[in-house]
Subunit: 194 residues, 2 copies
């Protein structure tokens, strides 16, 4: 079995967006070693009694300036989403529903819509334009994400993540070790290269 | 007025210990630019409705391995305190009480006792041996930290920090900008050097 780094993400997380941008740079230089795992960060927080920074005034304020600084340092386009925190459930389920060959483009388009273009991705009209960019059949998509199989799959990944003691996004897992935060990607790579 | 970076710390915070070690390296190469501000991190958490990682099983577990990794990467001696979280109130009040010329040694000895030597610094006998190392008169110390003036001073710094929307330790403040976490020291220095 080829070794890889599991990357737990939720489109709702600005730090997951930053991690995704960093991963793209790494992937452009090597064979892909990251295995994307969608997980509902709100679900993890609920299960573990964690109040998200989004709901603590001082933390939210710091997070906005912190993300801005990190993005600038890395030359990543970044705009704080003025409707944060938006509900990401549809696009998270969508990631599980769509075909494998479209997942990479879908990640780019959804992350960019949320964290670069300041779009309300919980709005169906906006979502449709994004799906069209991905050349995804929208009727098929909206039917697919209602499928109990897909709903359960996302719920199950979140449950299993909770059992593994993952508590936020982005999280990297390699050799059963957990690294939390975009600024711990380096540590995950160290573990990978051990 | 000479520009400086305010460094908000609590001895209870392992990341504050790591930040202190980093600051010592920076100070060894330049004139000191850090202004140490003791703040009760538990007080900030209470005021802002934050549950400390110490009380969330998964976060605590991650914090232990994370601190260990960061310390290793920086060649800092570090041992997780087996009695974490210990009450730091006496040594925090003590920092305000002692004379200025002894504060730097006191910082080193208390941080090291907590985060390198795995000592129970809430134990009076152990604290006495540490105070003796600092050449502090112990009777004088224990009387001093009971002084309402000292108690109020620590409470006031914590209150003012809360008003400034500081929510954890270590925190760096420069030009009214807040940088949270030992891994944001670099950002604070960037702001300082602007």
């Amino acid at each position: 079995m080829t070794k890889s780094i599991d990357f737990y993400f939720d489109f709702i997380s600005p730090y997951a967006y930053i991690a995704h941008k960093k991963i793209k740079i790494i992937n452009s230089k090597n064979r892909p070693i990251f295995n994307y795992k969608p997980v509902l960060v709100g679900g993890l927080h609920n299960l573990q009694g964690i109040t998200a920074p989004a709901f603590i005034k001082s933390k939210l304020k710091h997070m906005i300036s912190d993300c801005d600084l990190i993005a600038k340092k890395n030359n990543f386009d970044f705009t704080w989403n003025s409707k944060f925190p938006l509900n990401s459930l549809s696009i998270m389920r969508g990631y599980l529903f769509i075909n494998s060959d479209i997942k990479s483009l879908y990640l780019d388009i959804m992350f960019q819509a949320y964290w670069k273009d300041n779009l309300d991705i919980s709005n169906e009209k906006i979502l449709i334009t994004l799906l069209e960019k991905c050349k995804i059949d929208t009727n098929n998509f909206f039917q697919g994400i209602k499928d109990p199989k897909i709903k359960n799959e996302l719920r199950d990944v979140t449950k299993v993540s909770n059992d593994k003691e993952i508590f936020g996004t982005p999280t990297f897992v390699i050799n059963n070790k957990i690294f939390w935060g975009q600024d711990r990607l380096e540590f995950a790579l160290d573990e990978y290269n051990k």
